[in-house]
Amino acid sequence: MDRLDKIRNFCIIAHIDHGKSTLADRLIELAGFVSKRNMQAQLLDSMELEREKGITIKLTPTQLLYKYNNEDYILNLIDTPGHVDFTYEVSRSLAACEGALLLVDASQGVEAQTLANAYLAIDNNLEIIPIINKIDLPSARPDEIKQEIEEVIGIEAEDAPCISAKNGINIESVLEAIVNKIPAPKGNSEEKLKCLIFDSHYDNFKGAICLIRVFDGSVKVGDKILMMQTGSVYEVTEVGIFLPSTKAVDVLKAGDVGYIAASIKNISEIKVGDTITNAEKPAEKPLDGYKQVQSVVFCGIFPVDGAKYNELKDALEKLKLNDASLQYSPEVSQALGFGFRCGFLGLLHLEIITERIEREFDLDIITTSPSVSYNVYKTNGEMIEVSNPANLPPTVEITKIEEPIVKVSVFTPPEYVGAVMELCQEKRGVYKDLQYLDKKRVELKYILPLGEIIYDFFDSLKSRTKGYASFDYEISGFLESDLVKVDMLLNGEKCDALSLIVHREKAYNRGRMVAEKLKKIIPRQMFEVPIQACIGNKVIARETISAMRKDVLAKCYGGDISRKRKLLEKQKEGKKKMRKIGSVEIPSEAFMSILKLDEE
């Protein structure tokens, strides 16, 4: 038991921009194994996208060594992605810990994600240590914020350390709190092996590796392990810890956080939330909380330059190595040529993947409007899943269509209840429940079609509640619905990549908005171009792009010649990124923009 007393497993949870990454950096500086310079290179690499999106995508866990009262403590910091798309992954990371640092900005106070994350941590029975950050700011009001934490979240905050992660103030007190307040892990190394997989990585040498927390038993090289959900058996080739670079060790025991390599070729074989046990002496039952992760949002991804199909394929393969939740299969579009139909955990996941393709692989891509997967029952008795609107069979062949629905719970301050209800109604929501959690917080429950959630729900919710509301959803099956396909015609030609499946009542409105948006985004062509939105053969909305506006006829002598040639070369580059539907040139953004109709 002595060994376990010296281990603390914890994570940091926070609202966007409250300083999570900075605090992690400081802790590593103070107690980590890496030099400051190496650490920066390592942490900053993955930061660009994260900073922009205000989220952590995936950070390697890190072991810290902290001397307190002349005793050495091992502190395992496990990072969590902080977005609704990854709620399940977050919950598994939390399940690997005994405690969480709840980081709150001293001037901003408790915000939506603070709540959502704090409740997730409470659900996982974690000890929560509130920490007030950015106390060096002139607008800091730590005492009020402490009170707010107590009132709104309902946890003790009086002794919360007040720090500045940025300027390194009081970081020591955080380390002390971790040791003093977070319980040591429980478990027995002599019991049958039970490890929780909370993440997976791909390593070029070791293959796919499992990031694990050992709850009971121990695991070492040569052991035969069993993945209890998938039933696969592997032989362990290496076990180790993160410093945060990998370091092999002899054995991992109850309470430890580390990794297992077992010649696993494909990351898809590793399921986050699965339990690893010893194949020869298996545990009776797996750890709770496992879920099969499924794609819920789909879209087409195409290379802007058709010749780069293979490069896109490589990029997806490489991303898939480290991201088991990414799904893809080849697809052909009349408008966009060869590409892939891809499945994601949610819209943010989609955005991250598409941005990574562009940044890390330097590929220009076109993404089509996101869709959910529908169950389509055909007159011949067959049921097909349709995640690409272009593949919806003709109306006469369909008996009914079912759409995925989700249970949504929204946390909001009471003053926005009206606004949230209004939004849910607009999104075809069915009201289920309303509960005052305390004076400052209401929980609303709705059943909503997933298709409405992926279409602008998150942004609308944030803007209508000044960012205070947070929401979470879980898939709860399929429901029959009156859905139709809206096709977009440009200059009389159907553009398959712009088709949408929507509820009949919304079809007219949506068709009109898409037509308007396309009018704005498609540059004027040499000739007038009609845009039509149609259900079957019926035109439900129409817009016209007038012929091209004329340029000022600039003069062109001596030195103007190079300047003008370069301008034209640039203009031509821009045109290359356009797609041609018949004779109409469409910029790549048009395909994605359909989704952002409500912005204006």
Partner: protein, 366 residues
């Protein structure tokens, strides 16, 4: 023999016009003296045996300096270069800075074409643009030029000015044509960053018409001039038959030119390069910008410049440079739709589409 032109830049003005983005300065005589010394040196140093088919003295305002400078400069050229018999020698003049005397000097030193910066005949507009002349001075200057024997007189006019309308503009054209000019350049006013005009537009101190409206006036102007015997041979240039500017056509046919003076551009033996815009750097030959024009760029320029002109471009030349333009789908489409027109070896742009020429050019570039 390939054509070669000379451009000489005179970067001096009495006052800067609000829309001007050219390199020009208002300076004292000492600087002018020194500048002309350096200019003469450059003319000597860059001597070539090739025959010169045109000389263009531009600015700035070449007419604002003492005529003796112009004389010295031209004499320097004559002393160092071989001229074609039918050489065209143009000087840009402001109507207020030339009198009969000055024009006589110009005539006597071999200049045979005058380009007057008229811009408008509306006195209020001229004032607002920062021009120092008025309508009467324009009439007087053109008459003086004719009196001393100039047969080839061009005027520059601006399109897209505040409150401009086609009726007034046609009236101005009529008055100018009556003075027996031979050439008109009608440029659309461009609002360039860094000019006074730019900030005036930003601050809404001036209300310029939208391009659409200006193009309308432009198109009417084209018809009006045609009826009066002035034919468009380039997007912005009109002349009586036989009075097209040789010098400018040289630019648009991608022929070579030597530019002397600050900020002057040359295109010679495969390179385009420019002198510094700074007097000291120019004197010390510092900060020269070089750009190699390879086949691809040459193709682009032949197309881009050719399509601005009535004559278009020679597709054989393009093909010889390595671009089989007939394999370009857009090109075929434009030919089918009569947007581009083929005549013999030449391709030219249907003038109805000058307003969207940029887009068409982009579509057919390699």
């Amino acid at each position: 023999m390939k054509e070669l032109s000379i451009y000489i830049h005179i970067p001096f003005c009495e006052q800067k016009c609000i829309y001007c983005a050219f390199v020009s300065y208002c300076v004292n005589n000492e600087i002018k003296n020194k500048y002309f010394q350096n200019l003469k040196k450059e003319i000597q140093e860059r001597k070539t045996d090739r025959e010169i088919s045109s000389i263009y003295i531009g600015g700035g305002t070449p007419s604002c300096v003492d005529a003796k400078y112009i004389k010295e400069i031209l004499e320097e050229v004559y002393a160092n270069y071989n001229l074609k018999k039918d050489i065209e020698i143009t000087i840009e003049c402001n109507p207020n800075s030339v009198d009969e005397e000055k024009l006589k000097v110009y005539k006597n030193i071999g200049i045979n074409r005058i380009s007057f910066g008229v811009q408008s005949l509306d006195n209020d507009t001229l004032k607002k643009l920062g021009r120092l002349h008025n309508k009467d001075q324009v009439v007087c200057a053109i008459n003086n030029a004719k009196k001393v024997g100039f047969k080839n007189i061009s005027v520059d006019l601006l399109l897209g000015l505040e409150n401009q309308n086609i009726q007034d503009f046609e009236k101005q054209l009529q008055e100018l044509i009556a003075l027996d000019i031979t050439h008109i350049s009608a440029y659309m006013l461009e609002v360039e960053e860094g000019t006074k005009l730019f900030s005036m537009v930003e601050n809404k101190e001036i209300n310029l018409p939208i391009p659409e409206k200006t193009i309308e006036i432009y198109e009417k102007t084209v018809n009006f001039l045609k009826k009066n015997g002035f034919f468009r041979y380039e997007i912005s240039n009109f002349s009586k038959i036989g009075y097209e500017s040789k010098h400018n056509i040289n630019y648009w046919k991608c022929n070579e030119y030597l530019g002397f003076g600050v900020a002057a551009y040359s295109y010679f033996e495969g390179y385009r390069f420019s002198n510094s815009i700074n007097f000291n750097e120019y004197e010390n030959k510092e900060n020269l910008l070089y750009e190699k024009i390879d086949n691809r760029e040459r193709i682009e320029e032949l197309i881009m410049l050719g399509l601005r002109c009535k004559f278009g471009f020679d597709f054989n030349e393009i093909i010889k440079l390595g671009y089989d333009i007939f394999l370009n789908d857009n090109f075929k489409k434009y030919l089918d739709k009569n947007i581009l027109i083929k005549e013999g070896n030449w391709i030219y742009l249907n003038p109805d589409y000058y307003g969207v020429s940029n887009s068409i050019i982009c579509d057919i570039l390699p």
